[in-house]
Amino acid sequence: MTKLVSLKEAVAECVQDEDTLVIEGFTHLICHAAGHEIIRQKKKNLTLARLTPDTVYDQMIEAGVCKKLVFSWAGNPGVGSLHAVRRHTEAKYTERIELEEYSHGGMMTRLQAGSMGQPFGMIQSFNGTDIPKVNPAIKEITCPYTQKKIQTVPALNPDVCVVHVQRADKNGNAQVWGLMGTQKESAFAAKKVIVVAEEIVEASVIRRDPNRTLIPEVIVDCVVHEPWGCHPSFAQGYYDRDNDFYVNWDVISRDSKTYADWLNEFVYSSENHADYMKKLGTKTMERLKAKSRMCEGVDYGY
């Protein structure tokens, strides 16, 4: 059965006000298009969770769709600060969001526990740090075999997970190569899964290389075809990270006026992601388009 819908339809159907949402990706395959569509649909009071909330969560915070951030590293990767995050968390500002903070290992373990149907996950990440002092959800147990102290974090089962992938079939079997972040853990942990793909391919293409399928159709609710949907993040084999964007973003996002202008031009005044890409222009796309590097492939015969 085809689950193919537009991004507008997928967001309208799956994302409700007050939801806990994960837009996945660890530097790679971060679906900015989904964040922009959620901003356009003016969703409210979302809890946004991810290890590395970068520019897309920063934009969602500035646009006012987020009430709480659950995270482990909130920065502009390779550049510096996320300015909307800072403007909504530092003492001198009045409009604040709530923070719930872990380490990368801690966040990953929360999603992994959620993906495995466990109520909590075990980890050895917080010895001596102040993080558990400001996050009461991090607790400690004694190992019943070794008596060693181990920290625990609660399972995270998001209402919705958006996973961007290189290719998927219409049923939602989704293939990823390159960096895989916590995509698998988040997708299996979530109650609803939206797969956004650079390319929609025939099921036979997926089935010829099943080892590459990270997300199976059984957990997928919607499939969306959205080329360039990650910009300024990247899709290995399709387009490079737009480093100039991340560097310039530091300037644009530092000031709430230039930030608002950018959101107006690129998000609110864009009908959809194709419109956003049109505004970025073909020169940007030519600059970022990946140079091909094929691998040998493997023999699945028996």
């Binding site: 990767p77 530092e90 903070e101 290992g105 990953m108 373990t109 390159g178 480093n243 991340y246």
Partner: protein
């Protein structure tokens, strides 16, 4: 040849890396140092990035820990779960690099928040990321930070990553398997840690005095009896940095 302090930092850090060591690489100066070591005395240095790129051979200097150039030609790509569980927590990382906005005499680091209290900070920093795990589980940690008295403080506002000692508790009492920080490489001096688990200056950069170093540090420093002057790195290393590893001067 006029050598910049940041070039000395990178060259000194690179010296510490042995061939075939498994190193957990961060962006910025550590990344340049690892690539310099690989180009010179440690061609089989095995570099791992927290994004899941393992045994990397990047054609360009990565601009983030998840640069696509780290994927192409790497030995393995794995999930973030594998990085933190199978590599770090399992004890498969020999060297980790860390830095921070604040550091105390024991090498405890703050990358979380500065000033005010945690809920109302003066400056909100990005947070731990994988730093607290690197600090606990790497067999040893090198810290690369520029020396100034706002960063080298009596007490960190928040301890994100554990150093040699927290309060009266040592690493073994805290249950941290790795040795913790063993070297602090700054732009004026190099430090080890003494029997009290405190930083002790062992090397001064050429032309830098003990007084100048102390003036830039927010806590009273120990100085080694065998204090040495840092030697100039080979000219070829400086050429490599300027012509190949960081030609645009992004980090150096």
């Amino acid at each position: 040849m006029d050598i910049k302090p940041s070039e000395r930092m990178v060259c000194r850090a690179a010296e510490e890396l042995a061939n075939k060591e498994v190193v957990f690489v961060g962006i910025g100066l550590p990344n340049v140092a690892c690539n310099l070591a690989k180009e010179t005395h440690a061609p089989e240095l095995f570099m791992i990035y927290e994004s899941g790129a393992v045994g990397t051979l990047p054609e360009r200097l990565p601009v983030s820990i998840g640069d696509p150039a780290l994927v192409t030609d790497s030995a393995s790509i794995c999930s973030v779960a594998d990085i933190f569980q199978c590599y770090l927590q399992r004890g498969n990382i020999s060297v980790g690099f860390l830095s921070g906005a604040q550091i105390d005499r024991y090498g405890n680091l703050n990358t979380t928040a500065i000033g005010g209290d945690y809920s109302n900070p003066k400056v909100r920093l990005p947070g731990s990321g994988g730093a607290c795990e690197i600090a606990i589980h790497s067999k040893k940690v090198f810290i690369i930070m520029r020396l100034n008295d706002r960063a080298f403080v009596e007490k960190c506002d928040f301890i994100t990553s554990v150093g040699r000692k927290v309060g009266e508790q040592t690493r073994s009492q805290l249950g941290c398997p790795g040795a913790g920080p063993v070297k602090v490489i700054t732009d004026m001096c190099v430090m080890d840690f003494n029997d009290q688990e405190e930083m002790i200056v062992t090397e001064l950069f050429p032309g830098v005095s003990k007084e100048q170093v102390q003036a830039k540090c927010g806590f009273k420093l120990n100085f080694s009896d065998k204090l040495k002057e840092l030697k100039d790195p080979p000219e070829g290393h400086i050429r490599l940095l300027r012509d190949k590893l960081d030609p645009k001067g992004m980090y150096i």
